[in-house]
Symmetry: C2
Subunit: 141 residues, 2 copies
């Protein structure tokens, strides 16, 4: 079994991140995301965080999420026009959205592949961010 990506303890703190003050709120938001590696919306994060910080406001959750995203500790993912979701998998990856269950699975690139191997990029394009989302079904097994 391959745990390459998921080996950080669920309740560990992010290592010191320059310019980021680790407040209790940010810590808990981060902990909650690491603890259950689904792709919760800000609202879902809020619900989960409230178990330990009952007074935290949704605005603060949004702030924390934004800060963590800005510092590269988590990723924000958008599907269609739905609420943004947040993902603790910082590695470059895509998502597969199972229409039947609603579940979202991380999709990794095969090792060694290069964007320009399969896409006709405009000449001189410098890619800073990639977003790949697939929608479909898992065949009944």
């Amino acid at each position: 079994m391959n745990h390459r990506l998921h080996d950080r303890a669920a309740n560990s703190l992010p290592e010191a991140c320059p310019g980021l003050r680790m407040t209790p709120q940010r810590q808990e938001v981060y902990r909650v995301l690491m603890g259950r590696r689904d792709h919760p919306t800000a609202n879902e994060v809020h619900s989960r965080v409230k178990k330990r910080l009952p007074n935290i406001s949704l605005a603060t959750v949004y702030n924390c999420l934004e800060t963590l995203v800005d510092h590269g500790l988590i990723r924000q993912v958008n599907f269609e026009r739905e609420s943004s979701r947040y993902c603790p998998n910082v590695k470059e990856h895509g998502h597969f959205h199972d229409a039947a269950s609603g579940a979202i699975h991380d999709i990794e690139f095969k090792p060694g592949v290069n964007l320009s191997d399969f896409l006709d990029l405009p000449p001189g394009a410098v890619i800073e961010d990639i977003e790949i989302t697939l929608r479909g079904k898992l065949a009944a097994s």
Copy 2:
């Protein structure tokens, strides 16, 4: 030069599409999208359409766009949390968002490539829709 994708006359009508009633509003929305192959928002489409149909409402533009999308005549594309944009290129393709100019370029797949060539898909996944968005810059030429 390769015009494979863009050879439909700009003001042509979509060929008969089962179950789609081609009203003047839908026709004009479609015409406007075909005429300028950028990626306008519903609002931009509304402005453009109003030149010929001054009384059309934004709600109708939304309705028309949704209908055209449902019938596969245009595609809806979402970048981040911005307004949806609409794209007359129905072929499977991705988008490159130039951070500097804000321009959006269609990106084609290299011929013959297969999703599973570069992505680790979950076993049994049947992909129904692909969305690939790149963000970056065009190197100064």
